[in-house]
């Protein structure tokens, strides 16, 4: 069968198309973005009329997907790990409603925080919601698991979580797609039209069903083949390896069998009998998990009075950071490969705002006004390219916590007496989670000045469309009650610097809610647009 070179993200996207989805719902977030982008660019998906445009945030995405499932069609929702926090209300409750059409939630975790604020492990979220979780170890398995996940979802009427990590999401390998693909489902409402009504009386019944289903979920994990016990003669040690950690284990035994028994895990909840078997057979166990110690913690228990369990909790492996072949090898007692040290001359090259970026002009103006009239430490920022304003030479911001927190934290600090407080948020982050916070500020008449840096795109993740740009932003700001005269649009350009300073001074002086919108297109998006234009002209 012909193999295609696909990233993990792309393999998941192609599998969803082949498995007969009618829609994908997502907000961009590294390392999950390419799943939805692949479907958006796919001719096949266009022909099949698969809906795929960006959602405003992960919660609206999750709910959109759940609605499609209610209507009987297959849907997929994709996000990065912290996006699942945003979608959590809908996600956890979707376990209680259950699914109608197949519903698969893909979450891409980012251990080692390559592009993230934490390294939370979404398998815990799956456990919390009490739904099946799948964790592929390579790209082909990711492709196959999507098909399986939709089947499982429709047979057991449950959402299924597919958990991947950065290294699988952004690594390419040969993938053989299935030759026989599935048609989309017909519109078909749930048999019981109250299935999705989570009134307490109904939710209690549904929850009992979910509890009862745990046995089915475990049985599926026993029979699917994604969990397997590989025999080994040396029973002084038993190895449990989940997802991509299995690859790092294999890497340490090139061209040879692993001498110890291995329990390879790719599906949760893990059946107890599988854990029992390897526990009984071996003198001690070592657990390799990419993420938090989920299985390790369960095996040790609070009292840790059984056999010796090695892993992230006893220091055999560092608690934080992603695994790699050398870390796994060391834990197994292999000597570290001989290597050269990093020469002293090497200095870091941190990411930075691009030359010509509009945010540079905004930060220069904000910094100047603060230096002139106020003390430092009053700029509450958000998540996007402009977070790089934390680094020198700007050192312009004091917080970055979660999507939308700039406005609400500035409000809280202003409530505490830090006035004026300044919020800095991008156009896409504002529509994602900033609007509700702005309503809070308006209702309280808080002394905050909110900068909505409108660069006409979701820049950090590669220039996806924003939910609202241009005049629509002013409409929203006006609509939530900010006074017309305190909505100021400026052009973040050097030639308007003095003019902009004056606007900022005026609004910081105003003891209520002001919104300043520095508006100029992202320089990278502009560059791409110009190149396309040039190409069209020359062709």
């Amino acid at each position: 069968m012909e193999k295609h070179l696909l990233m993990g993200d792309e393999a998941i996207a192609q599998a969803a198309i082949d498995a007969g989805i009618s829609g994908v719902y997502a907000y961009p977030g590294t390392p999950s973005t390419e799943i939805t982008e692949y479907i958006q660019k796919s001719e096949e998906a266009k022909e099949k009329n698969i809906r795929s445009s960006w959602a405003t945030n992960e919660k609206t995405a999750m709910e959109g997907a759940l609605g499609m499932s209610y209507a009987g069609k297959r849907s997929m929702v994709c996000m990065k790990h912290v996006g699942l926090n945003v979608a959590a209300d809908a996600f956890v409750n979707s376990a209680i409603t259950g699914a109608n059409g197949g519903l698969v939630v893909v979450v891409a975790d980012d251990p080692s925080m390559h592009s993230s604020q934490n390294e939370q492990d979404s398998r815990f979220f799956g456990k919390f919601a009490m739904i099946p979780v799948l964790e592929p170890h390579h790209q082909q398995e990711a492709y196959d698991m999507v098909h399986y996940a939709f089947d499982l979802s429709e047979v057991l009427k449950t959402p299924v979580l597919l958990r991947i990590t950065t290294r699988l999401a952004h690594s390419r390998a040969g993938v053989a797609p299935r030759l026989i693909t599935r048609e989309q489902n017909e519109l078909r409402l749930p048999e019981k039209l109250t299935q999705f009504v989570l009134l307490p009386s109904i939710a209690r019944e549904n929850y009992k069903t979910l509890i009862h289903n745990q046995e089915h979920f475990k049985k599926a994990a026993l029979e699917s083949g994604y969990n397997s016990y590989l025999k080994g003669n040396d029973k002084s040690l038993g190895i449990i390896a989940t997802g991509i950690a299995y690859n790092y284990l294999q890497e340490n035994y090139p061209n040879q069998e692993i001498p110890y028994p291995v329990l390879k895990i790719g599906q949760y909840p893990v059946p107890n009998e599988m854990l029992q078997e390897i526990y009984d057979e071996c003198d001690e166990l070592i657990v390799f998990e990419e993420g938090y110690p989920l299985i390790e913690e369960a095996l040790r228990g609070s009292l840790n009075i059984g056999k010796n369990i090695k892993g992230r909790m006893d220091g055999t492996l560092a608690f934080d950071g992603e695994l790699n072949p050398v870390k796994v090898g060391k834990a197994l007692g292999f000597p570290e490969p001989e290597k050269r040290p990093l020469p002293d001359i090497v200095v870091p090259r941190p990411p930075a705002l691009c030359a010509g970026c509009p945010h540079i002009d905004s930060y220069k103006a904000i910094n100047e006004v603060i230096a002139k009239h106020y003390s430092k430490g009053r700029v509450f920022a958000d998540i996007g390219c402009y977070t790089l304003g934390a680094l020198p030479p700007y050192s312009a911001i004091n917080t970055c916590v979660d999507m939308g927190a700039s406005i609400t934290m500035a409000k809280g600090a202003a409530d505490a007496g830090l006035v004026p407080a300044i919020a800095v948020i991008g156009d896409s982050t504002f529509t994602h989670s900033g609007i509700t916070g702005l309503i809070d500020a308006v209702n309280d008449g808080s002394n905050v000045t909110v900068f909505i840096l409108d660069n006409d795109t979701t820049a950090m993740t590669g220039g996806q469309n924003s939910a609202a740009v241009g005049n629509r932003l002013e409409d929203i700001v006006r609509g939530v009650g900010v006074a017309e005269e305190h909505i100021r649009v400026i052009r973040p350009l050097k030639k308007f610097h003095e003019e902009n300073i004056q606007v900022i001074e005026e609004e910081l002086n105003y003891p209520g809610v002001s919104v300043i919108i520095p508006r100029r297109e992202c320089i990278v998006v502009l560059d791409q647009r110009m190149r396309r234009k040039f190409k069209d002209k020359t062709q």
Binding site: S115, P341, I345, L353, G462
Partner: protein
């Protein structure tokens, strides 16, 4: 046949294209392949790294273990050194000599080059100047690829076809430029 290659540089220098050419050559040769890179924050002028592995046997890890890379191919000299702990003791380091200077504390370039020269198996190429001479400024990465070509384990025709395939949509002029750049790089590796 098994090769583990680190490709490095700065965002926008053509790392992904270089990995794609070598990857295509590996696939056309019927080999297994894994190629990983980090996206996101690192695209904003930060350092970029790709792990490229190909083998006639199945490949387990997407990441090359430290101390095991057969080769570092870098489009930027500081970035070549950044990944030195990943190189095997017998490995090759093949790098452009021209810095991409977007940081205030960029180290002394002579110091960087002398560190590269400490690695017994090294190839240094001033790819930027050659690219300028060839009037193909965007082909710096392909010149470096040419300089590395002898150590990649492919017939020349296979690599040439992979270059043609990558630039197919850009027309014959771009293809010719890159083929010329490739051979120029290969020639310089010998001089």
């Amino acid at each position: 046949m098994k090769k583990d290659i680190i490709i490095s540089g700065v965002g926008g220098q053509g790392i992904v294209s270089m990995a794609a050419i070598i990857g295509t050559a590996a696939l056309e040769s019927g080999l297994n392949l894994k190629q990983s890179e980090v996206h996101g924050m690192s695209q904003r002028g930060g350092d970029v790294l790709s792990n490229l592995r190909y083998s006639d046997k199945p490949i387990a890890s997407d990441l090359i273990p430290e101390g095991k890379a057969d080769m570092i191919i870098s489009i930027e000299p500081l970035e070549a050194l950044r990944h030195l702990p990943r190189l095997s003791m017998e490995g090759w380091i093949i790098t452009n000599t021209i810095p991409f200077n977007n940081i205030e504390n960029y180290p002394d370039i002579d110091g960087i080059i002398s560190e590269v020269r400490k690695i017994p198996n090294h190839i240094l190429v001033d790819a930027d100047t050659i690219a300028k001479d060839l009037n193909a400024r965007r082909s710096t990465n392909v010149i470096i690829l040419g300089a590395a070509s002898e150590h990649l384990g492919f017939e020349l025709a296979v690599l040439e076809n992979a270059i043609i395939k990558l630039f197919e949509k850009k027309g014959s002029k771009v293809i010719d430029q890159n083929i010329t750049a490739f051979y120029k790089g290969r020639e310089l590796a010998h001089s």
